[in-house]
Symmetry: C2
Subunit: 240 residues, 2 copies
């Protein structure tokens, strides 16, 4: 038999799917902006010739991704979607596969390597002082316990993200904390006496000092050293 190929399946869209597309068109055609209010459910239903149920389901989708908000009696208005929130919601269900988690962890490494320039451009005296306090606390605690504290790790790196002054980036980092601690917990024991290629280990104190008086270039290389065990772990994995 002749192989059936190059034939597109008939569109298999539900009514709700179609309505959703139609709504998107409508928004574009009318060039609607944030804050604009849209017709009420019944009007849409009548105009499109479908039941209110279908309209509601389509609108509910938009509400779920944060494109519209609804209030009783007032109706619905376009809102600025919170792209991070969508991320959050999906993550809350703990259904991300191993591959995605790995990808996300790599993303974290990339971000910390790449944000040096923003840090140097936007650091304030207050930021540096706050970092100083964080590092000092860590140093104090580490005298007593040889235990590597995740808390201090989060405090320091979290502060860096905060300093970037990029809200999206910062919220992204908040979001990824669970993934980060997951990796931290599962860190193989040998990584505690990991052999750094340069011989020395760049501490938070070192990073802070460079941030005070150094350059983005030096900071990047120092951060690369600081993160070396993580990079090792990630890069030695053969990806399928």
């Amino acid at each position: 038999m002749k192989k059936l190929t190059n034939i597109t399946p008939l569109e298999n869209l539900s009514l709700v799917d179609k309505v959703e597309l139609r709504l998107k068109e409508y928004f574009k055609e009318n060039n609607l902006k944030i804050g604009d209010s849209i017709p009420k459910e019944l009007e849409f239903a009548e105009a499109l010739g479908v039941s209110r149920t279908v309209i509601r389901e389509a609108l509910l989708r938009l509400r779920t991704i944060g494109v519209i908000e609804s209030k009783k009696r007032k109706g619905m208005v376009l809102t600025q979607p919170d792209i991070i929130q969508n991320f959050e919601k999906a993550i809350e269900y703990n259904l991300l596969g191993e591959q995605t988690l790995t990808d996300i962890f790599e993303l974290r490494l990339i971000l910390e390597m790449g944000m040096a320039d923003l840090l140097f451009a936007r650091k304030t005296k207050e930021d540096v002082d706050a970092l100083d306090t964080i590092v000092a606390e860590q140093e104090r605690d580490e005298i007593n316990t040889s235990f590597f504290s995740l808390e201090h790790e989060i405090a320091f790196h979290g502060k860096l993200y905060e300093m970037s002054n990029n809200t999206t980036l910062q919220r992204f980092q908040d979001l990824l904390l669970p993934v980060f601690s997951y990796v931290h917990d599962n860190m193989s024991p040998e990584s505690k006496d990991f052999k750094y290629s340069k011989g020395t280990f760049v501490t938070h104190r070192d990073l802070l000092n460079i941030l005070k008086t150094g350059t983005p270039e030096r900071f990047r290389e120092a951060m690369r050293n600081h993160l070396e065990p993580h990079f090792e772990r990630v890069l030695k994995i053969i990806k399928s």
Copy 2:
């Protein structure tokens, strides 16, 4: 009159909100994994004592963020949410504010600066050859037109993301292309004869050569130079 203070408002959750939370609990309690199927709408409705409509709306939210999928007669099964897709959907509506767009553009710069190590660890001969072709085509075209082509820009940088071998990162980049071209289009004219601090401009060819025989460190600094006009633009903006 006594000032009314320290009184927390009663929770103002809709039924659907509550059901959604209850469903999340249910998934956790039963430790459900990807591929597991869940009870049908009517069973949930009866068990929770609400109408099928409310259950449907709650489930529809989950479907929208990609946590479940539904098929007629078969019922609903848990699926791995596609975190990027949620992003996509939100972006399609062109409702992102100026601030978010700026944040995202910064994110791009950060990513390109930070991914050097992944590139060097994962580059293959095929990748480098492909990049070579891309650069060659660009060089050929640029002889004729002095016009700076966005296409070549996208081809080159897009290939870099592809080489990272990080699917999430790569899809993220695909997603951000519109934002990128938006910035490209609105790039101020003077940036074409932008004065690079080091005097020389790092071309795609230069980056490629470093990728072939250089080190991540050198690549980072070269990329920093290559992106300098963009960094200038971003960093000179005073953020509120």
